[in-house]
């Protein structure tokens, strides 16, 4: 399957070829010894701390904010209202022009006149310590007049429901309808039609380090330095400059260690904007670290969808049509700058994606509510689309009495059908659904497991097997955000240079939050240059230091940043060989680089060490032949151009046991086969998959932000909002099929979100499989004991 372009890589299978090898990530000792530097650890001279006073109401008029008493408290530097801060920072509207019809209202850093969700900031207290700020915050007197809260997405569009933003006319943020093929004819020719309403719990990312920012406006330099755990430094630079009335050159964004991101930290939050503005206003560094309650109330939520869906199937297993009607509530504003319509849009794009079925009808509606904002979180839309599609496929199989594997085999796009386009218009370069499914069945020993299941069932032990095929968007081009007018780069850049001692310094615009961006960059650069990884130092996360680029999100680091690294390293390699040829009175073609030295291409015998070459170039250029100007630094950028996205595919399986007396689900085992093209570091990819799966398992069984009808989040703490812990998590076996993308020489696609995409679907299908003897079907997650016992009619 390898395209000729990949041949160049296999030629590099020399001592320093790290591509495809498991090597430990560089610089892990820093984190292992507690010597990392997270933003929450940072301190700067004159730094003050901000605490936000937040609305206790989901929807309320702010009648007055009295800051006098708070200002008198010890240590207080300033108490600032929304109105006061509005002089420093302008409001924003979270829309993108390519999301046709998407509307939202102007949002402010700190609310003015009205609070639209429980947790929206209404005043800032800045003090010498966080404790002092918290103490003083108690004395900020805010008078509210409570307004009716719009909380139920199902009634948000009713005429009796108040409109949250009068200027918008209604509570509809976005609507998309889509028809492909002949859905009516598809359903008409079906022997059976299965339908269900799929319900997804609103959940959130729970990064272990809460969102943190230190903003440092240096009035003498007229420059703002933002230290923030962000996935997209250049995006933050652009947005901060835009709304503070600065040039981008006046804003530097620095991203050190980040305690988990998962999409939570790819957005720009109102309180972060407020912190930048406060630093500018007060001319000193200001630090904001969310506490856990604030994290639950303000970190973006995701996945709050209800989707009515149906599928038509013929008795021979042919799926004739899919239809969905999806509804989602996104909170009072479309999030900035990526907008909150993307998830629903992705659901429309992705339902039915792995299958050949040409007939598809979809509607998605996105409505405003007085709850926390929803936006993109790991695997955006995919878990919804996958749960709907795979749930429907299992329902269809049950209707016609076919094994879930068999129905998939009959409908998955054939492995030799590529390139092809899905009914929703997604272009697939090369996928491997069937090869992946075959591999999965082998890994899990499917037939034996079915036998075991049947045996156990006779003894009253109810185990289930769930399968979920999926596709995943990775390596996004400008089609995601750029075309809609957002200044979010889809290209990434890498600069590589040989330093004066023959070591390599590499600056990349992708960022690190633990995925292994630093490692994959060093692996690629080391491989191409022929130097050992230890000699490659990678600099990331600093807008003053790295080329311009998008950062790390939407599974793009390896595929886009990795290719830029490869291309930059190739140029540097060529430049080094030219200098070497001049020094050695040879030709570049006769030379090679291996093990940190120039060698003869023919027999590998050493010619000159890289440190010696560097010494000559930097300190004795006078000894080089005339006319030679060595360039021991090279920069390259990359963005995919042929395909808007590099789709990956995979399939997951879950094996679990349902206790039909207690409703508890015990996860016994989970398998994933995943095709992300060329794998740069197998261990890192597998760990991305595992981590992603476990976040999907959380959605399947535990995680839900529970709001009451007044818009109060009732479980905004870690004790009541459950996530998977080590005791509940099964071992996860990961396998790979490799279909490289030919868009890049590297051939890598993304892997960071695939685990999350399909995990919940596999678990839900397994639970329904276990419940089959009882005739119970559940199409809602999280699958709590209560839900299961209700379905079993035990409560």
């Amino acid at each position: 399957m390898n395209k000729p372009a990949h041949a160049t890589l296999s030629e590099l299978d020399r001592p320093n070829s790290y591509i495809g090898k498991t090597v430990p990530r560089p610089n892990l000792d820093r984190l292992l010894q507690g010597r990392g530097l997270y933003v929450s650890d940072m301190e700067l001279p004159r730094m003050a701390h901000v605490v936000y006073v937040r609305s206790p109401h989901a929807h309320a008029k702010i009648v007055s904010v009295d800051t006098q008493a708070a200002k008198q408290k010890p240590g207080v530097v300033a108490v600032v209202t929304g109105e006061e801060l509005a002089d420093v920072i302008t409001p924003w509207v979270g829309v993108l022009s390519h999301m046709k019809g998407l509307k939202s209202a102007p949002q402010r850093a700190i609310a003015v006149d009205r609070a639209c969700w429980q947790g929206e900031a209404v005043a800032a207290v800045v003090a010498s310590s966080r404790a002092a700020a918290e103490d003083a915050a108690e004395f900020v007197a805010v008078e509210y007049e409570e307004l009716e809260a719009v909380t139920d997405m199902r009634t948000a569009l009713d005429s009796a429901t108040p409109v949250i933003h009068a200027s918008l006319g209604d509570n509809l943020a976005f609507e998309r309808t889509f028809d492909a093929g002949a859905p009516d004819a598809g359903f008409a020719e079906a022997d059976e039609v299965a339908e269900a309403e799929f319900i997804f719990g609103r959940h959130t990312g729970v990064t272990l380090e809460p969102r943190s920012v230190v903003a440092d406006w240096n009035a003498a330099e007229a420059r703002l330095t933002i230290y923030q755990g962000t996935q997209a430094p250049h995006m933050v630079q652009n947005i901060a400059a835009l709304h503070l009335g600065l040039e981008e050159a006046q804003v530097r964004v620095v991203c050190k260690d980040v305690g988990g991101s998962f999409g939570i930290k790819v957005h720009i939050y109102a309180d972060e904007m407020a912190t930048y503005a406060l630093s500018k206003l007060l001319k000193r560094p200001v630090k904001y670290v969310a506490d856990r309650i604030e994290s639950f109330n303000t970190d973006i939520h995701a996945r709050d969808h209800r989707c009515k869906a149906r599928v038509g199937v013929k008795r021979d297993g042919t799926i004739t049509a899919f239809e969905i009607d999806d509804l989602t509530g996104i909170g009072p504003y479309s999030m900035y700058p990526r907008t909150s319509a993307i998830e629903a849009n992705q659901v429309v794009n992705l339902v039915g994606g792995p299958y050949v079925t040409p007939n598809y009808r979809a509607r998605a509606r996105v409505v405003f509510q007085n709850k926390n904002v929803m936006c993109q979180y790991r695997a955006v839309g995919h878990p919804i689309a996958c749960s709907i599609t795979e749930g429907l496929v299992d329902l269809a199989a049950a209707k016609i009495g076919m094994d879930p594997v068999e129905i998939r085999r009959r409908n998955l796009i054939a492995d030799d059908a590529y390139p092809c386009t899905s009914p929703a218009g997604l272009r697939f370069e090369l996928l491997s659904h069937h090869a992946s499914l075959d591999k999965l069945l082998k890994m899990m020993n499917y037939d034996a497991l079915r036998t075991e299941q049947a045996e156990l069932c006779k003894r009253g032990i109810h185990r289930g097997i769930g399968i979920a095929s999926f596709i995943e968007v990775t390596n996004p081009s400008a089609a995601f955000y750029g075309v809609g007018g957002a200044k979010i780069s889809s290209q990434d850049g890498v600069a590589v240079r040989l330093d004066a001692q023959g070591a390599v310094v590499c600056q990349t615009s992708i960022t690190e939050q633990g995925q292994g961006s630093e490692s994959l960059t060093a692996q690629i650069v080391g491989s191409v240059l022929g130097v050992s990884m230890e000699k490659v130092r990678v600099i990331l996360g600093d807008t003053d230091q790295t080329p311009y680029g998008g950062g790390t999100w939407a599974s793009r680091g390896a595929g886009i940043g990795g290719e830029a690294a490869l291309q930059a390293a190739k140029v540097l390699r060529k430049n080094i060989l030219e200098v070497a040829a001049a020094i050695l009175q040879s030709t570049p073609a006769e030379l090679d680089i291996a093990n940190n030295r120039i060698v003869n291409a023919g027999d590998g015998s050493p010619r000159i060490e890289l440190p010696e070459l560097a010494r000559i170039v930097y300190f004795r250029p006078d000894t080089l032949p005339p006319g030679i100007q060595p360039e021991l630094m090279a920069t390259r950028h990359f963005v995919p151009r042929q395909y808007p996205f590099a789709f990956t595919n995979g399939v997951q399986a879950s094996w679990l046991e349902v206790d039909t007396d207690t409703g508890f689900v015990k996860l016994l085992k989970h398998w994933v086969v995943e095709d992300c093209g060329v794998v740069v570091n197998p261990q890192l990819v597998d760990e991305q998959i595992r981590g992603g799966v476990v976040q999907g398992l959380g959605a399947a069984l535990f995680e839900k932000c529970i709001y009451d009808e007044r818009g109060q989040l009732t479980n905004a703490n870690m004790a009541d909002y459950l996530v998977p812990m080590s005791g509940e998590t099964p071992d996860i076996d990961v396998g790979h099929v490799v279909s490289p993308t030919a868009e890049s020489e590297l051939g890598a696609k993304g892997a960071g979100e695939a685990g999350t995409a399909g995990a919940a679907a596999a678990v839900a299908n397994a639970v329904n499989d276990a419940l089959k003897p009882f005739g119970a079907v559940i199409t809602e997650i999280p699958l709590t004991p209560q839900l299961i016992l209700t379905a079993l009619k035990r409560i």
Binding site: P24, R25, L28, D29, R30, L31, L32, Q33, G34, R35, G36, L37, Y38, S40, D41, A131, G205, V206, T207, L208, E209, P210, D257, V258, G259, G260, S261, F262, D291, R292, Q513, G514, Q515, G516, Q683, L684, E687, R690, G691, G692, V693, V694, Q695, N717, M718, A719, V723, P724, M725, S726, G727, T729, D731, I732, G755
Partner: protein, 165 residues
């Protein structure tokens, strides 16, 4: 009651004296007063385990203990355990197995795992999972952590047997 209170304690073998507010918890004292930022704070109410340290040899959640309660105690944090070399093999196993991604849970995971390994030289996977079940990790999915702890237990046992009298 709210006046700073004098305390004296050992932190990573160093004698420390300080005045602390009675309400200051030990995690904040270590991070803010002593700048030992390897102790992380994830929830501040005893749930996530990220702030786990050792006090008088026992693991505790430092967000649930007041600094004044540590008066006279011997406190060990990830910085101390790293410098003494006590957990270097465990750290190496974490590194080799990529048992950390963002690293925010890692110091506490290491300290909690070491606590288990001191008490039980041959824990099986279930036992390891159970002992670590109070420590959140949002990145790894736990399997790599369990593998690393298991591998360390095995390696320690082998080297002990090698040293048998």
């Amino acid at each position: 009651m709210t006046a700073p209170h004098p305390i004296a304690l050992q932190v990573n073998g160093e004698h420390v004296e300080a005045y602390v507010l009675p309400r200051t918890n030990l995690a904040d004292f270590l991070r803010e007063n002593l700048k030992l930022t390897g102790t992380h704070v994830g929830c501040e109410h005893g749930v996530c385990g990220a702030c786990t340290i050792r006090v008088n040899g026992e693991i505790v959640r430092s967000c649930l203990m007041l600094a004044v309660q540590a008066h006279g105690a011997s406190v060990e944090t990830i910085e101390g355990l790293s410098d003494s070399g006590e957990i270097s093999d465990l750290q190496e196993a974490f590194r080799a197995r990529n048992a950390l991604q963002c690293g925010y849970c890692t110091p506490a995971m290491l300290i909690t795992a070491q606590d288990l390994l001191k008490a039980d030289a041959e824990p099986d996977r279930e036992r390891i999972r159970e002992h670590l079940s109070g420590n959140y990790c949002r990145c790894t999915g736990y399997q790599a952590i369990i593998d690393a702890v298991e591998a360390t237990a095995r390696a320690r046992k082998n080297s002990d047997e090698g040293r048998a009298p």
